[in-house]
């Protein structure tokens, strides 16, 4: 579970990227990104999130977002992120879905 806070721009996106990379190094392959604290994201942040998604999928992992604001959800849909990453309304739903598939986070 990765919980973000604040503007997902170059700076914010890099922090998420570094966190996810470190978790990948530790062997993590299933990711839930909780964006409740991030109501705004720019295209630099989106490009970083795309890289994270690609990295996880290359490792045959699974990645999902939860608690997206309507604006961010729409942005992700338009930019194509939700074609490759799942979206859940809440952390509980995401955790439940991952647990049902037998994936530790």
């Amino acid at each position: 579970m990765v919980v973000s806070q604040g503007y997902i721009n170059n700076l914010g996106g890099e922090k998420i990227g570094e966190t996810c990379s470190a978790l990948i190094e530790e062997g993590c392959r299933a990711f839930i990104l909780n964006l409740a604290g991030s109501p705004v994201v720019n295209s630099i942040g989106i490009s970083i999130l795309i890289e994270i998604i690609e990295k996880v999928l290359e490792l045959r992992g699974r990645i999902a977002f939860c608690h997206l604001t309507p604006t961010v959800g729409k942005t992700f849909k338009i930019m194509g992120l939700l074609q490759y990453a799942e979206c859940f309304a809440s952390e509980e739903e995401a955790v439940g879905a991952f647990a049902a598939a037998g994936q530790p986070q």
């Binding site: 721009n9 170059n10 700076l11 970083i48 729409k74 930019m79």
Partner: protein, 590 residues
């Protein structure tokens, strides 16, 4: 088959096998860098070359980017490849030896030799696919430092194809992804503008909407920070209404705070932007917010981000921010209109309440007086009027009739009507003495704080037992007495309107009230009713009307209103209309 033929056959099998494997690897998915490294190693192994590296050509910048290497270190910097060299290589497609200074590529490689640390015997192979220059492969010495033969060059050229196609496909994929990303960004820009527009129409709370517009504009433009400054009034200084991005630690925009401070202070160097111009420098973009030529404020963004740093805002960014600024203007205008509408609704509700209260002050019906018929009616020209009438029973067969006209309209007039009503009922016991009560009423009205200032009033005290009438006219249109017979007698003013001066005394008119006599009192709205050409109804017409009217008619009020309406034709009613009539019947009713 002899040994040489066997070796050749084995070698060809090996090469073909390697090509097949490389093609499968090239078509595989997964991390491209890893695959590229494997492809390079396959090529090096099959060609018995000890070391090599691949440089990817970036067409947009003309730079050769070091990508993967085997058995040597990739250079840190990326050389720029001259365009003429690219063109020449596209034409020949031939590999070049480092030492061959007769070849431009060979000579160039010597000049950039620090970037190719692969030993002495080096060969540069161009990677060309479908007339596109994809990059170069630099090969170090052959195994055991033997010379590259023509067969080696041909073999390497064959092995290079799957490597080249892999890089070409990757570049195509990268470019199409970038193009798709940019297209999607455009869609997002349009969708954002549309969504913000819909939010404005839904009349969301103005401050929240301002912040949301700022936030959306900043993120769409990839700005790290933004600010919205507004003016409280036309020539007022700019004040910060919303800021974005300052809560994030680090990456503070250079000079943005100084810029914001300087526009708030209205310093001379900011006069152009303060006058409604656009400001664009290396890091800051600020556009004015205009609504119908009124300069409402400034929308600013700072620090346009890329993955590697910051770039200046473009003309496209400027156009997009101007679009957001116009949405801010619409939001502000809508908010003001909405507030004005709410205020208007509130005032209308208060006026309705006041009108209800005012109507409640009027008597529901006039008392039934044996031997007399009394009628009264009022029609205000607006929701609240300044006219008033009342009838107060004084006991012993005496009744006080009042008709009054407050100067002014609407709430102030209504308040003064209430004051008069309260005073009349408080001084009820003194109404039998019109001379005394008139002085008291004048004092009350003088002391009232109303803006309306004065009241004209007629007070008629009827002694129905003794058939006597006392009349007070405080500056009002003179009521007139009709009868007996055809006589018409106006009751002149006994003093000035109430409320103008303290300490006034009033003269009282008294008369016997004979059978068949009637007294008519009215407000100026009746006689001043005008035709479209400006002709007034006048007192004479009113007298004639009442002279001809059936005194016992219960529809008299509606008849006179209809008569006035027909006289006025298409003109609107300009003043309140009130009248009062008391008639002594020829035959008494009990």
């Amino acid at each position: 088959m002899n040994t040489a033929d066997e070796s050749f056959t084995l070698r060809m099998e090996l090469i073909l096998g390697a090509i097949r494997e490389m093609e499968m690897l090239a078509a595989d998915s997964g991390d491209f860098r890893s695959r590229a490294k494997l492809l390079l190693r396959a090529l090096l192994g099959t060609a018995t070359v000890s070391r090599g590296m691949v440089f990817r050509y970036l067409a947009a910048s003309g730079v050769l980017q070091p990508h993967v290497s085997s058995n040597c270190t990739l250079p840190k910097s990326a050389p720029r490849m001259p365009d003429e060299l690219v063109s020449a290589w596209l034409q020949t497609g031939a590999p070049v030896l480092f030492g061959d200074l007769t070849n431009p590529a060979g000579a160039w490689a010597v000049r950039e030799s620090d970037l190719f640390p692969c030993g002495d015997s080096r060969v540069l192979f161009p990677m060309i696919a479908q007339a596109h220059f994809v990059g170069i492969v630099v090969l170090g010495p052959k195994f055991m430092n033997t010379q590259f033969t023509r067969e080696d060059m041909n073999t390497i050229s064959l092995l290079l194809r799957p490597l080249t196609m892999a890089y070409f496909s990757n570049e195509l994929l990268r470019t199409s992804r970038q193009t798709l990303f940019q297209l999607r960004r455009k869609v997002l820009e349009l969708e954002t503008l549309g969504e913000v527009g819909r939010s404005i129409i839904s009349l969301r709370e103005a401050e929240h909407l301002q912040f949301e517009i700022l936030m959306r504009a900043s993120s769409i433009l990839d700005a790290s920070h933004g600010a919205l400054l507004l003016r409280a009034a036309a020539d007022a200084p700019l004040e910060i209404s919303a800021v974005f991005g300052f809560e994030q630690e680090g990456d503070e925009p250079v000079n943005f705070k100084d810029f914001l401070k300087s526009v708030q202070q209205g310093v001379t160097e900011r006069s152009q932007v303060l006058a409604g111009g656009i400001h664009r420098d290396e890091r800051i973009l600020a556009v004015p917010i205009f609504a119908e030529e009124r300069n409402l404020g400034l929308l600013c963004v700072a620090n346009k981000e890329t993955r590697t740093g910051h770039i200046p805002f473009s003309t496209e960014d400027e156009n997009l921010l101007v679009s957001f600024a116009s949405l801010v203007a619409v939001a502000l205008e809508n908010a003001q209109l909405h507030l004005a509408a709410l205020e208007k609704e509130r005032i209308e509700k208060e006026i309705d309440v006041a009108a209800r209260i005012q109507r409640g002050l009027l008597p529901a019906e006039l008392p039934s007086i044996p031997g007399y018929l009394s009628q009264a009616f009022t029609q205000p020209c607006r929701t609240i009027g300044g006219d008033f009438y009342d009838c107060i029973e004084l006991g012993s067969g005496r009744f006080a009739f009042v008709i009054a006209d407050v100067a002014g309209k609407s709430i102030p007039a209504a308040l003064l009507v209430s004051t008069l009503h309260a005073a009349l009922h408080t001084l009820r016991d003194e109404l039998v003495n019109p001379s005394l009560v008139s002085t008291r009423l004048n004092e009350v009205i003088c002391q009232s704080a109303s803006e309306a200032k004065y009241i004209t009033m007629v007070l008629l005290v009827l002694d129905a037992n003794n058939h006597r009438l006392q009349a007070l006219n405080a500056g009002h249109n003179p009521p007139f007495i009709l009868g007996p017979g055809d006589s018409i007698q106006p009751i002149p003013a006994g003093g000035i309107p109430f409320g103008l001066f303290h300490g006034m005394h009033y003269e009282i008119f008294e008369t016997d009230f004979h059978p068949g006599m009637s007294i008519v009192a009215y407000t100026d709205g009746v006689v001043e009713t005008r035709t479209p050409s400006g002709e007034e109804f006048g007192t004479d017409r009113l007298i004639r009307f009442f002279g001809q009217a059936d005194g016992c008619s219960s529809v008299l009020p509606s008849r006179i209103l209809r008569h006035l309406s027909e006289f006025r034709q298409s003109s609107a009613q300009e003043d309140d209309i009130t009248f009062l009539r008391i008639q002594r019947l020829l035959i008494e009713n009990n």
